[in-house]
Structure formats: structure tokens, C-alpha cells
Symmetry: C2
Subunit: 480 residues, 2 copies
């Protein structure tokens, strides 16, 4: 009876269909450059291809996979295409995808140590491995006062850091000290990621209490301006509470002066969070470790293996110097979750390190990536991406029609044609419509820049050469 059969997928059917999906994905990766990088569908097009009502009877797996090919793929913007240069990458790799698959198969829920000890312990272990790879200070290791946890995103890490900072200044009673809270101030730069502002909204901190510190000519936070604003705020009766320094801003990958900012925060006893979401991965290479110099002065630090370390989104690595501050800010302990290991304080329960209670087994994919690549392999690819970016920079510099925002930081180039903002907008739109490459944009000091970030796992020099040729040709055509 067909329906009865479809009520569950038995193990043999899983074996068969699982291998079909693996083949489907392998074929997809072989032909990924044949798809337009940026999906070309119009709003509503995907929905209009789908039945209006949910099926009452079960359907066959083959039909489902066929719809993935025929309908879904059209609506995919192919982040894993080597011709994807937009935003920041969310690069993945074979070992990471298979780590995700195993995690999905285990289907464990790691809210407590006891609900799957391996889920917690592998996470702690891999976070310590990465602390070593990044040469983080002792305080961020789990054997010390602090430790690391995998959050879904740098947004969540920033929110958790901000909440811990908020509770620190009010001895865990922020909600009862509205008057005091209304005096607490936050320091970011005009270039800081929007998630910091969102964290403030969520945590109930007024936009009026966010200080946007001016940046220097490289779009890095000006530490003198930071210090003078802090002093002024103290004089005016405010309570400076939290600073976020960015290691790699979203617009231009600018690096804030972490060491100088850190010294100010230490002296002023302000929580310093370092958001190294994109560029933090580069610090795995000894020659780029300087990017996070000063991290020893931070209270918290986060970076995203899901951006540039070949690990599937979601995987943000978040470190705190004092785990008690984080846990105190976020703990809840209902009866139905009590167990002897938690009660005895013998284990880590990561539910107290994040917003949600439930959590996936995310460390498997990260473990797989670190082991399959080795630190050597990760470094090799990071350096390759940066090298390709340098070569592309030289190509762009040879064309007098274009200017580049300098200095180019690591693997991100912001460039523009000299025919002005509207022309550059049109140029970017033309290029993205071609389906051959996908880039995004930013605006800095009123100038519209095309942003090109070299970070997809399979991007080679040849891809970038083709991209640049296309950009030049399209610009020439548009000039008319």
C-alpha cells in the first residue's frame, strides 16, 4: 500500500535516497558555474510554481528531488559558486557538509551536558583548539576563567556580550535599575556592523546612548575620539558600559586598533567586545595574527568559521574571559532540567551561554574541517585568497577608469569606475544580471563602491581574471 509505505522512510529507503542526494549535490557542484550566480527569478516566481495546498497523501522522494532540480535551484543565489564575490562569503566544504549530515542524523539536542556529553565536550575541545590556532590569551581557554561556545551568528555573540556587560554594571539587576540603565553608554564606530545596533534595541538600550565614534581615513575607529567621548560622557554623568571593536568592518574590512582601544577599555573598566566575524579567521596564519593584537585586553571575542573557514553557516565562535559573567546573565534552571552533573557544577551546560534553550551539534562540522584541512590547509587557502586579491588589485590599478579604496584589506576590494555613483550602480546591476558573477556594494563618504570579496572555497585566480575581464568589458559597453 503506497500511503502506508510513505508514512515513514525506512532504513533501506534512507540508504537509497541518501546516496541519491549525495550524487545530486556532487553533480550540483560539478555544474555550479552553469547557473546564474545571482538568482534571476522575480518575486513570487518560486511560490507560483508550488501547489497552493499541502499534500494530504505522501509523495515519492523522486518527485521531491525533481522539484529541487526544477523549481528550487532556479531560486538559489549560488553562494557556493566560485564566482560569488558579494557580501562576505559563507563558504562551505565537503567535510563541513558531511559533518552537518552526521549532526542531522544523530539529531541530539545539546542544551545540557547530560543530554549528549559529546555535543558539549567536542564543542569545548574544538573551541580550545581554535584558541590555540589563534594564539588567544589563556583567559579564553575553558581550563581558565573563560571559555568558548558556538553561537549561530556574530549577531547573537554580540547580543550575549552586551547582555553580560549590562548585568555587570548593575550586579545582575539591570531591569530594576532603569534610571541607571538610562545612563549607560555604548561605543561603536560608524562602520560597526548593524547587529550591534540591533543588540542594543533588543537589550533595551536607547539609540541616544549609542556613541558612533568617528573613524580615520582607513575607516578604523579613532582611539583618541573614543577616549575623549568616554571622558565627556563620564563628566556628563553617563556610565560608559560597552565598546565594540571590529576586526574587519562590513563595508571595507577596516581593522579597528584593537590594542589601543583595549588599553582605553582596561583603564576605564569598560567591557570590550571584539567582533572579528570576517577577518578573525586570518589570524590563524601567524603573519596575520597581528590583526587581533590586543585581544588579551578584551572581555569577549568572536569570529565566524562560517564566513571564511570552510564551515557551514551557522558557526560563530564566541569567547568570553569570564564565563561566570555570561552564565549569570543568561541562566535559568527549572526543575525539569536539573540533573546531578549540573547540580554538582561538574560540567558545562551551554544553554546558559546563549539566547535559546535548545542547541544543535554544531561542533562536528567544525571538527571535521579542522581535521580534514589541518591548520596548514586552512592557512594555505586563506593565503591563497589574499594572494588572489592582491593580483586582482594590480589588474584594477592598471585601468585608469577605475579607482580602488586603499589600502585594500586582506581579501576585500572596494572599487569604482570614475564615471560616478549612478554609473557604478548601473555597472553593478548589469554585471549581476549577467549571472556570471555576483558582487555587492557599499557607500563610503557618499561614494558608491562595488565590493568584491574573494573567499569562496573554490575561487581560483582564473575565476578572478575572468571576472575582471567581464567588469572591464561591461564598463566599456556602458560608457557607450
Amino acid at each position: 500500500m503506497k500511503e502506508e509505505k510513505n508514512y515513514h522512510m525506512d532504513v533501506e529507503a534512507f540508504r537509497k535516497h541518501g546516496k541519491q542526494v549525495i550524487d545530486w549535490l556532487a553533480d550540483y557542484y560539478e555544474s555550479i558555474e552553469d547557473y546564474p550566480v545571482l538568482s534571476q527569478v522575480a518575486p513570487g516566481e518560486i511560490r507560483n510554481s508550488l501547489p497552493a495546498h499541502p499534500p494530504v497523501k505522501g509523495e515519492s522522494f523522486d518527485d521531491m528531488l525533481k522539484d529541487v532540480s526544477d523549481i528550487i535551484t532556479k531560486g538559489i543565489t549560488h553562494w557556493q559558486s566560485p564566482n560569488f564575490y558579494a557580501y562576505f562569503p559563507a563558504n562551505v566544504s565537503g567535510p563541513s557538509i558531511l559533518g552537518e549530515l552526521l549532526s542531522a542524523g544523530f539529531g541530539v539536542q545539546g542544551m545540557l551536558w547530560s543530554t549528549s556529553p559529546a555535543c558539549t565536550e567536542l564543542e569545548t575541545h574544538v573551541m580550545d583548539w581554535l584558541a590555540e590556532a589563534l594564539q588567544l590569551p589563556e583567559k579564553f581557554y575553558s581550563r581558565s576563567t573563560g571559555g568558548g561556545v558556538i553561537e549561530d551568528s556574530a549577531s547573537s555573540a554580540a547580543l550575549c556580550a552586551l547582555l553580560a556587560a549590562r548585568e555587570r554594571v548593575t550586579n545582575n539587576r539591570s531591569a530594576d535599575f532603569h534610571e541607571k540603565m538610562s545612563k549607560c553608554t555604548i561605543y561603536i564606530s560608524s562602520q560597526t556592523h548593524s547587529s550591534l545596533k540591533k543588540a542594543c534595541i533588543i537589550a533595551g538600550i536607547s539609540d541616544n546612548n549609542i556613541r558612533y565614534i568617528p573613524v580615520d581615513e582607513n575607516y578604523s575607529m579613532n582611539p583618541d575620539e573614543l577616549l575623549s567621548r568616554i571622558c565627556q560622557d563620564r563628566h556628563d554623568g553617563f556610565i560608559p558600559m560597552f565598546v565594540c571593536a571590529s576586526v574587519g568592518t562590513t563595508s571595507s574590512l577596516a581593522i579597528d586598533p584593537v590594542l589601543q582601544v583595549g588599553e582605553i577599555c582596561s583603564a576605564e573598566q569598560i567591557w570590550l567586545h571584539i567582533d572579528a566575524a570576517m577577518a578573525g579567521t586570518a589570524a590563524v596564519c601567524p603573519e596575520y595574527r597581528y590583526l587581533i593584537d590586543g585581544v588579551e585586553l578584551a572581555d569577549s571575542f568572536s569570529f565566524n568559521p562560517h564566513k571564511w573557514m570552510f564551515t557551514n553557516f551557522d558557526c560563530n565562535c564566541f569567547y568570553v574571559a569570564d564565563k561566570n559573567e555570561l552564565v549569570k546573565a543568561l541562566t535559568i534552571n527549572p526543575e525539569y532540567l536539573k540533573n546531578k552533573y549540573s547540580d554538582a557544577n561538574e560540567v558545562i551546560d551551554y544553554r546558559d551561554w546563549q539566547v535559546s534553550l535548545g542547541r544543535r551539534f554544531r561542533s562536528l562540522k567544525l571538527w571535521f574541517v579542522i581535521r580534514y584541512y589541518g591548520l596548514e590547509g586552512i592557512r594555505y587557502h586563506i593565503k591563497k585568497h589574499i594572494g588572489i586579491t592582491k593580483q586582482l588589485t594590480a589588474m584594477i590599478q592598471k585601468n585608469a577608469d577605475f579607482e580602488i579604496l586603499s589600502p585594500v584589506s586582506l581579501n576585500l576590494i572596494c572599487f569604482r569606475h570614475n564615471k560616478g555613483n549612478d554609473f557604478n550602480k548601473k555597472l553593478l546591476d548589469e554585471l549581476n544580471k549577467s549571472g556570471k558573477i555576483f558582487m555587492s556594494h557599499t557607500v563610503l563618504d557618499g561614494k558608491y563602491y562595488i565590493r568584491l570579496c574573494v573567499g569562496q572555497t573554490n575561487t581560483e585566480l582564473s575565476h578572478v581574471e575572468k571576472a575582471w575581464k567581464l567588469i572591464e568589458e561591461t564598463a566599456d559597453q556602458l560608457k557607450g
Copy 2:
């Protein structure tokens, strides 16, 4: 050269290793009952089996998979064992696991419609399908004022609902109205999930402003007590802001009287959030739709396909009656994310419906489950679980040594031996140590209950019969 080869996993290696992992998982599911359900490792045991330092050279995939078998599996609490009865289930299924695999392979980031239109549109579509399956009111459909989104968890859904409610009462200026915020009150019951309290902590709402409404003899919120507390608060100058009604509490799966609570909230103009995390799935069956009667009076509603609908964690379905209120509370719009579709307001950008910016392609797994099972298949299994629970209830009732918390709600039984709390603690501990089954506990009115929830995808009557036999035998042995 070995190292060079390991710098990436090429497509052929992915094909080969992917099929190995599929076979590994199929074998795992075939032998899952051979493992102790609750992992028996001691704290630190898993970490001690792992190398202290990250590898510099890449390793072979075979070595990695071997360590999964030899080390990781020991530290897994097998949530997908049919003998898992603890907490609430996080049940998965073949189609869901393969949906996750495809999602990992695509590796898209669905923060904006344009960053992968299929990711957004399939999500909207599946949410509308489930609105139909649950017979939700028109306002929760995307074609109306509201709509649905997939959050990682019911915790996040509750937080987003609370934030939207907070901004509603202050016209989106909660952070500037500290005095007013200190007067806003929240209504939950003593049985409401701890995530609501955590949401209040995060949103900056004082514990002093949380009202724990008394429950009736079934542990359901008493609506008369709710109304009288609201009236008293208004009289005392407070601003009643938010009520959470639970459809299936964590301790005993108690159902709050949604309709009566809803009428009070409508009359008093208070945001009503319905947390149907566990029991909401049952409403897919027409005969259990009554559980959410009154949902038409709610401002927001959420339930977890990752609990009882065969869909991998994380997958919480969160509906709001007015999407503008949610978006206004959570939106941020930096230059680098601007695009013509968002600017023209032609599309949904789900980044504005959640805490984080980034998001995975979660709807694929849910789409796969609904299609492979059909509504008929989902209903079949829900009813089977409830049926098995009834049969187990009858078995327990035949043994005079045990008492059951009545009425038994859906698929959760809270029961206890008549020899008192310490005996029941010891009994549960013995049973869980046996590795043959895994259950959890709760405490209600000072009485310690063993909680047994029938919800794992592959649990059959025969499993429950064996479990009960083991419980009886172990209790007899302990009695001595």
C-alpha cells in the same frame, strides 16, 4: 602529495565519503537500540580521548569517521532511539535529514529575499501550508496582515513576540521610556516554560514585573486569576503588556484555556502569545484542533515541528498577526544590504523577523517532511503516539504501587511509585543507568514524578511494553 590532496575535498571524494556517511547513519539507525539511550560517560571522558592540540596536517576522512564510531558515539545520548522518553522529543526522519543535507550543500544565507529567493519563498509557502493544516485564522497567513517565519526555537519566538509587544506599548521607543517600561507587566503561569522568563531578562523586564498566575488542578492557567491580577495591576498603575498561554506545559503537558485567556487579552488589549511548542503539532489532527481554539484571538503563536513533527531541530514555526509590528521592532537597514526588491517593499526579508541577521535554509527539511508524509502520514503517527500512551496508561493503572498524574495529556505520562520522592528519584536513576530507556522527571506540588513522553519517530507499542516491564521489575528490585 598527501597534504595537497587534503587541502580540499574534491567532488569525487565528496561523492565517496558522502555515501560512506549515509551508510554509517543507516547502520547507526539499524543498531541504535544496542546503545545505552542515555550516554554513560563521565564528565571529561570524551575530551580525554581527543588530541590536546589541533592537527597541523590534514587527516584522512576514514580516520575521522572511525573516531565518530569509537569516541563520539559513546558520548551521544540517543535522542533518536525509540527507547528515548525524556524531556520532549526532538524527533527526526529520513526526509528531514536529507532536507538538512541539501540545505548544507546549497550553503545559502537567507537574510534577504535576494540572497536566495527560494529560501524565503519556500519558507513563506510552507508556513502558509501549516497555517492551513492547523486551521489558523486568516490573519496569520502571509497574504494577510501577518505571516509565519521559521525561528530556531520557541525561546527565540517568545523573545521576538515579547520585543514586538514591548515596542507596541511604547510606539517603538521602549528604550527611551524607562519609567513607563518599569510599569509594564507580563503574565505567565507557574508552569510556563523557563524561556519566557529568559526572554524577559534579555528584554530588560524585571522579574518583579512578571506575574505568575496560579493554575487549576490540571496545572492550566486560571483565567479568573489572570483577569483579577490584570485589574489589580491597572489599579496599581501598572501597564499589562504581554500574556503567554501554553498549549502543552513542559512539566505535564497542561493546556491553558486559550479561548478564555484570549478573550481577556482582547478586551484588555494585551499582546497574547501562544506557546504551543510541543502540543501544537497535534492540532494537525482535526480531533485535536480544539487544543488551540482561541488562537484567532492571539497576536502570535508558535509550535515546534522539531519536537513532534519528524523535522530536525532547529525548526520552530512562529506566526504573527501583524508583521509590521514585528518588523518595526527588529529592523535595521544598513547600506550594504540595500537592494531594489527590499527598497520597493516587494518581498519579505526575514532578517527583520528574528534576532540574528544570517539564516539557514530551514524550510527545505520541513517541505520534505510534509511532502513525504503528507498530512495523512503526520496525523497517522501523532495518533499512534497518543494511542500508545493510552495503552501504557492502562498498564500503569493496573499496578497499585504506582499513581498517575491525571488526566494524562496527549503523549506525556507523569507517574510515581507510592514509596515517595526519594524512591522515585532512585528508581529513575536506576532505569536511566540501565541504558535500556531514558526518561526525565518533574516536581509538581512537591511530588517528584517520572515523565515519560511517547514521541520518537520509531517508537512502537512493543517498545513501551518492554519499558513498562523494566520499570515494574526495577521498582520491585529496589523495594527489596
